[in-house]
Symmetry: C2
Subunit: 230 residues, 2 copies
Amino acid sequence: MTVWDRPEPPTRPVPLDRERIVAAAIALADEGGLEAVSLRKVAARLDAGPMRLYGYISTKEELFDLMVDEVHAEILPEEQLGDWREVLRILAQRTRQAALRHEWLADLLGGRPTLGPNGLAVTEAKLAALDGLADLDTVMRAVETVSAYFTGAIRREIANLRAERATGLSKRDWQRASGPHVRRMLATGRFPALAKAVHDGTEVDAEASFATGLDWVLDAVAAKLARPPA
Amino acid sequence: MTVWDRPEPPTRPVPLDRERIVAAAIALADEGGLEAVSLRKVAARLDAGPMRLYGYISTKEELFDLMVDEVHAEILPEEQLGDWREVLRILAQRTRQAALRHEWLADLLGGRPTLGPNGLAVTEAKLAALDGLADLDTVMRAVETVSAYFTGAIRREIANLRAERATGLSKRDWQRASGPHVRRMLATGRFPALAKAVHDGTEVDAEASFATGLDWVLDAVAAKLARPPA
DNA sequence: CTCATGGCGATACACTGTATTTAATCATTA
DNA sequence: TAATGATTAAATACAGTGTATCGCCATGAG
């Protein structure tokens, strides 16, 4: 028995913490989507048995919550922002950018209340930006309306992106309804307005379209802030 | 061997079709949420083996698509609607009502393009309502902005509803942050605006809040329709 | 050195979506 | 009518999942 034959000393278990677990889960999700995140795989990436994770999280859902909160740390900008409109716009756009980096975020966005420290910090930033500009009800409605918009818009954008990717169609072809199923549907003549839209539609830039819709919603909010409800 | 001992003649397999399968899946989801929908359980409800379903659907995701499209049939109203604003408002509200009847819809909404016949019919109705009121780009932006809003708003409403249900807290208590975790967070003093909002906030009616935000967004759309972009 | 304790890995269970293989039934032809 | 071929359902199988439970082993205290 030479040194080389001697078995390695039993590797002391690497100390774990939520941060490392969440980081591993996010890495997995970035690579293979949410469905690629299994407790076994997360644990394996940390050289641990699956059951070890239960010392730090109590369920897989909880892990998802932690992942979402972690991404909210990326969303919150470091530097101070300007007026309420800039705050809401930047936060919306940073959320979108985060979802483009972590597509799985689109699957989770809006799926449950974000009560982690970073999620709360983002909410705090929004509320603080509007503080005093109107009565609390109006402020809440403003924040929630803008959030609802960008949640929905981001989800749709990612959904379309995946559909294009899956069918291998370019965005232009997709909008032209080259998919056989959609083409057949349009050919029935039951959807004239849609058919016209598909036929005449020009290529749309997802980012610009997101920004435009966001501006509209912000315009609406601005109008209500100026004239709070009776 | 008497008559009673004689085994029942082998029950002819009940003919299946997508409709029955989708109906069974929806029933399961209505009772126990999306996670209660398994191909085995759907099949069992139809007195069939799991593999039989694969003659009618090719994957579970596809079943989900069919379920969403089926609900869109409920969303589309029978009677003719009025002007564009009423069309968009009613469709948004009917989507919300459908999600309250079928909470699992919130999990799927916006998750992938809705290309089934009923989903397309709903889109057609929206586009038709705005047809000719502005250039195609503006019309598309209008439809997508309103859809993004109500998708996000519905998801949040259902998410909050589930959170209340899970914690057993009334909406009021929830908003008062009776949850020990949130209470602790607010006590840190790092979220003053949020703390104030939670403290001063009055009970909100989800339906009214949805309607208000929707009206704001529709106001924004109206402004853009009046003045199409240069 | 001995013993207790607590964390960790291994094992186990019920279940999932789906591929494949086998059995049964039906239609068709001789 | 008998036999054969084609279609359809069922059974089995597989790899994987979240999570409960159990038993071991290393570390700390006495």
